[in-house]
C-alpha cells in the first residue's frame, strides 16, 4: 500500500481513501495546488542564498583584491576552494541525503554549512586573514552543491510527474536570478558601506559580506520551513521522505564507454572556459573596453540572465530535433567565436557575451542528456556523479591557473588559454561524432530516428512479451526498496511504458492516454499492476494503436530524459557553475 501511495503522490485529488482530511484550508492542505505553490516558493528560495553568495568574489573583484592586497592567482583561490570539496561530495551527496540524514535534516544541515561558510568568509575579511576566507569558501562549498541536490529531491518529491519540468525550470531561474541580483547589487551595497564608514578596507569588505550572509540565513529559514511542511505533509498523507535515488558505485567507472569519456572531456574543457572567465570578467571589461564598473557588472551577469529564459526553449528545441552532438558542436563553435571576438577585436562585447549566454545554455541542454544515452540506467548515478566530480576538479585547478596566467601574461593570453580549452572541447566533439558515426550509436540521431529505434527495440520486446511480464512484476515491487535512479521518477524501462500503454488501450481508457504526456505515471503503474495480475498479453493490437503507443512512449521518454538531465547535475547547481545542468 505504501509504495503505491508514493507513486500516486500528491496529484490525485480524486483519491478519497485513507481519510485525507478535507477540512483543511487550501493553503494548509498538502494536496492542494495552493499549498504546493507555497512549498514551491520556499523551495526556490532555498537555493537563493547560496547562488547569491557564490559569485560575491566576482562581483567585488577589485575590492577584494585591493582590500586584502591579493594578486589574481590568490583571488581565484576563493573559487578553487569552493570546488575542492565537491570533487568528493558529488559522489557522497546522494548517499548522505538518502541513507544518513534524510532529505529534511540533510537540507537543514547543508543550509547551515552554507550560512556558516559565508559567515567564516566574512569574518576572514573582517579579521584580515585570507586563509580564513579560503576556509569559509571551503565550508560554503560543502553545503552549496549538496543543497542543490536536496533542492532537486524536494522538487521531485512534491511535483513529480505533472509539473516537474516547470518546477525545475523555475528553480533554475531562481538560481540565475540570485546570481544576477548578486552581480548587480552587492557592489552598490559595498559603496553604501564605504560611504558610511568613510573608507575602503577589509572592514568594509567584511561588513558587506556579512550582509550577503543574511541571504544565506534566509535560505536556512526556508530550509527549516520546508522541513516542517514536508514532515507535516508526510504525517497527513502518509508518504515517505523523498529520496535522491542515486546509486553510486565507483567500480562502474571501468565500464564507462569511450563516448562517455569524450563527453567528460567536453564537459570539463568547456566549463573551464566559462566560469573562470566570468569570475575574472569584470575587470577585463573595465580595462579593455573602458566600461564603468556598473556596466561591467551588468555585462558579466548577462550570461546568467540569458540562460534563464533560453534554457527551456533550447531544451525544447533539442528534444524535438535530437542530433545532440551537432548541437554540442554548434555550442562549442559559437563559444569559440565569442571568445575570439573578445580577445582579438574591440567590437562591442555585448554581442560576444550574448552569444556566450546562448551557447552556454545550448550546450547544457544538449550535453548532459547524452550521458543517459550512452550509459545503462543503473550506472547513471555514477556517471553523473563522476562527471560533476571531474568538472569540479577541472574548475578548481583551472581557476587558479587562470589567475596565475592573468598575473603573468595579461588578458590576451588568458583568452588564448580559454580558446585553447575550447579547441580541446571541439576536438573531443568531433572525435565523438566520428566515433558515434562509426559505431552507429544513437547520440546523434534525430528525434524521429530515435523514436523508430525505440519502436524496433520495443518490437523485439513485443515479440517475446510473455516472459517480460513475469520479470516486470518483481521489478515493480522492488522499486521502493532499492533506490535506483528511476524510483524517484517511477521511470521504468521503455518496455514498461509500452506495456502500460497497450494495457491502457486494452481498457480503452482514452482519457488516460491524453494526460499521459503530463506524466500520469502513477495511474499507469496502478493499471500496470492490475493488468499484469490479469496476465494481459500485448500481442493483439491494431496498427494505429501501436502507433499511438509509440507516440506516447516517445513523449514519456523525452520527459524522463528532461528529468534526468535536469536532476543529474544538481541542476541549479550553485556555482552557476559546473552544474550547469542548469538547462
Amino acid at each position: 500500500m505504501a509504495e503505491r501511495r508514493e507513486y500516486e503522490g500528491l496529484l490525485d485529488e480524486d483519491e478519497d481513501d485513507d481519510g485525507v482530511p478535507r477540512h483543511l484550508f487550501p493553503l494548509c492542505d498538502p494536496t492542494h495546488l495552493l499549498h504546493r505553490i507555497l512549498v514551491l516558493v520556499f523551495m526556490c528560495f532555498l537555493g537563493f542564498g547560496s547562488y547569491f553568495c557564490y559569485d560575491n568574489p566576482a562581483a567585488l573583484q577589485t575590492q577584494v583584491i585591493q582590500d586584502m592586497s591579493l594578486n589574481t592567482a590568490s583571488f581565484m583561490q576563493l573559487y578553487a576552494w569552493y570546488s575542492w570539496p565537491n570533487v568528493v561530495l558529488c559522489f557522497l551527496g546522494g548517499f548522505l541525503l538518502d541513507r544518513v540524514f534524510g532529505i529534511r535534516l540533510g537540507t537543514i544541515i547543508f543550509s547551515l554549512f552554507v550560512l556558516l561558510g559565508q559567515i567564516i568568509f566574512a569574518a576572514g575579511a573582517l579579521a584580515n586573514h585570507f586563509w580564513l576566507m579560503n576556509l569559509g569558501r571551503f565550508v560554503f562549498g560543502i553545503g552549496g552543491e549538496s543543497l542543490a541536490v536536496a533542492q532537486n529531491t524536494y522538487a521531485v518529491n512534491w511535483f513529480k510527474g505533472k509539473e516537474l519540468n516547470l518546477v525545475f525550470g523555475l528553480q533554475l531561474s531562481m538560481a540565475r536570478v540570485g546570481s544576477t541580483v548578486n552581480m548587480n547589487v552587492i557592489g552598490w551595497v559595498y559603496g553604501r558601506i564605504e560611504a558610511m564608514l568613510g573608507s575602503t578596507g577589509h572592514t568594509t569588505l567584511g561588513i558587506t559580506l556579512m550582509i550577503a550572509a543574511s541571504t544565506c540565513l534566509f535560505s536556512l529559514i526556508c530550509a527549516l520551513i520546508l522541513g516542517f511542511l514536508d514532515r507535516r505533509a508526510e504525517k497527513i498523507l502518509h508518504k515517505e521522505q523523498g529520496r535522491t535515488g542515486e546509486v553510486i558505485k565507483l567500480t562502474d567507472v571501468k565500464d564507462f564507454p569511450v563516448s562517455l569519456w569524450l563527453i567528460f572531456i567536453i564537459c570539463v574543457a568547456y566549463y573551464v572556459a566559462i566560469f573562470p572567465f566570468i569570475g575574472l570578467g569584470q575587470v577585463f571589461f573595465i580595462e579593455k573596453f573602458a566600461f564603468t564598473t556598473v556596466q561591467a557588472r551588468a555585462i558579466n551577469s548577462i550570461v546568467y540572465i540569458i540562460s534563464a529564459p533560453a534554457s527551456p526553449l533550447l531544451g525544447f528545441m533539442v528534444d524535438r530535433t535530437g542530433r545532440n552532438i551537432l548541437w554540442v558542436m554548434l555550442a562549442v563553435i559559437t563559444t569559440l567565436l565569442s571568445h575570439m571576438m573578445l580577445a582579438f577585436t574591440f567590437w562591442n562585447p555585448w554581442i560576444a557575451m550574448c552569444l556566450l549566454g546562448l551557447s552556454y545554455s545550448l550546450l547544457a541542454c544538449a550535453l548532459w542528456p547524452m550521458v543517459a544515452f550512452v550509459v545503462p540506467e543503473h550506472q547513471l548515478g555514477t556517471a553523473y556523479g563522476f562527471m560533476q566530480s571531474i568538472q569540479n576538479l577541472g574548475l578548481a585547478l583551472m581557476s587558479m591557473a587562470a589567475g596565475s596566467i592573468l598575473d603573468l601574461k595579461g588578458y590576451l593570453f588568458l583568452e588564448v588559454f580559454f580558446i585553447a580549452c575550447l579547441c580541446l572541447a571541439l576536438l573531443a566533439v568531433v572525435l565523438l561524432y566520428l566515433y558515434n558515426y562509426y559505431k552507429e550509436g544513437e547520440l546523434n540521431l534525430s528525434a524521429s530516428a530515435r523514436a523508430s529505434r525505440i519502436k524496433s527495440e520495443n518490437g523485439h520486446q513485443l515479440r517475446d512479451g510473455g516472459p517480460r511480464h513475469r520479470e516486470q512484476k518483481p521489478l515493480l515491487e522492488n522499486k521502493t526498496k532499492e533506490p535506483g535512479l528511476d524510483s524517484a521518477f517511477t521511470h521504468q524501462d521503455e518496455m514498461d511504458l509500452l506495456e502500460r500503454r497497450s494495457a491502457e488501450e486494452e481498457h480503452q481508457t482514452s482519457q488516460t492516454i491524453m494526460c499521459l504526456s503530463d506524466g500520469g505515471y502513477e495511474l499507469q503503474n496502478h493499471q500496470m499492476v492490475t493488468d499484469m495480475e490479469n496476465n494481459i498479453t500485448v500481442n493483439t493490437h491494431p496498427l494505429e494503436s501501436t502507433v499511438l503507443i509509440i507516440q506516447h512512449d516517445w513523449r514519456d521518454f523525452l520527459q524522463t530524459q528532461d528529468i534526468l538531465e535536469k536532476r543529474s547535475p544538481s541542476p541549479p547547481s550553485l556555482s552557476s557553475d559546473k552544474m550547469s545542468t542548469s538547462i
Partner: protein, 407 residues
Amino acid sequence: MSTFTANLIFSVLFVVFGATRGFLGNGDKFRRKVSVELNPGLTPPWVLPPGVGLVHVRGLGLNDTLHFLLCNAGAPALLMVHTNSTQSVVQVDWPSFINRSSAGSLKVEPQSSVQYSSALVFTRVWEYDDVNNTADPQQTAESSFYPPYELQNFLWSDLNETLDQSGLTVKLCGGERTESFLNGSLCLQFSAFESVGRDQPWPSLHHNANSSQLHVWLNGVTPRGNHSRFALEFQSVGDSGFQGRVDVHSSIDDEYTPSIFKVSQWVSSPVNQSGVWGYNQWKPVAYRKAVPVFEDATPCKHSQLVSMKRIPQSRLVQAYFTEHPQTHGLNISFGIDKDPVFYSDTKYISWTVLVGMGEPPADSFSTLIIIIITVGLGTPLVIIIVGGVFVWIRKRRSHSSGYEPIN
C-alpha cells in the same frame, strides 16, 4: 606530376608563411651598427662640471645615420638627429658649449645631410597633494601643488661609471641638495638598440633599430605629503615646419603590459604632409616597484600638448637649435581616480618611453600565442576535414552497395 604537386604545395606554404610573417609585422628587421662615446672631442683644459656629460650614440645604417645625444647639462635632454649620409659626425665647440652654450656650438656635420632632428627634454618633476584622490593634476587646485623640482638644478652622479659600452646603456642618477633627495634619487636610463627586440622588464616596449628607450624612475624620494602624487613634465623641441600631436591607439595585445590595452604616441609630422617623422611612444602604465608584478602597475595619464614660448633650459638644445625652434610641453601624471595606493606606499614610480624616428613600431603577437592558436584551431579543423572526407566516402560506399539492411 608529382614534382608539380610538390612545387604547388611548397609555393602555397611559402605564400602562407610570407603572409603570416608580414602580418606579424616583422618587416623592420634592419640593423644598425651602434657605437657609444662620451664627450666627443673634449680635451683638457676644458672640463665639464662633475656629473655632467654628453653621451653620443651613433647608429650607422646602410645609407643613413641616426645620432642620439644625451646631455644633462641643465635639464636632461635627448636629441635625435637623422642624416642621410654614413659619414656624419658630431662636432662640439667645447669652449662655447661649456661657457655659454651659444646656438651652433653643437653641430652635426655635414649640415646638409641632416634630415630630421628633434629633442625630448625632461624639465620638471611636479608633486601635488591629492586630497580628493582624483589623480588628476589638471583638476587639482594650484595651491595643492608643491614647488616643482627643476631638473636643471639637479646634481648628477658620474656618467663615466654608468656608461655601458657593450649593453649600449647609460644611467643618470641625481637629485637636489634637499632633504627629499637625502635617501633617494631620480634616475634616467637611456638604451640604444641595434635591431628589433623587446626589453625583458615591463613594459617591454617593442623597439627597432630606429628607436631608443628612456626609462625614468623615482626611487626613495621622500614625498612632501601623505597623499602626494607625482607628475613628470617633458618638453619637445623641434624645427619649425613640424607639428606635434598625441595619439592614443587601442591595442588588443596586453601580453607584456597586463591589463593595458592602449598605446600613446606623441608624434611629429611635417605640416601639410602626412607621415610621421619622429615619435615618442609609451604605454600608459607606470610601475610602483623595481621588479613589478601585476598589482604594482598603475595607469598614467598625459595632459594636453601645450605650445611653449621659450626653449627649455638645456644646454644641448640651446646649443643645437639655431633657427626658431618650436617647443611643446606635456605632463605625464601617475595614478587613477580613487586609487588607494599613493607614492608614499612604495616610494618608487617608474615610466618608460621609446624615442625614435620614422613610424612608431607596431606591437605584434608573441610566437607562443601564434603557436597555440594555430595548433588549437588547426587540429580540430584538420580532423573535421579528414573525418568529413571519411564520412562522405563511407556514405558513398553504402549508397553504391544498393542494399539497405532491413532491421
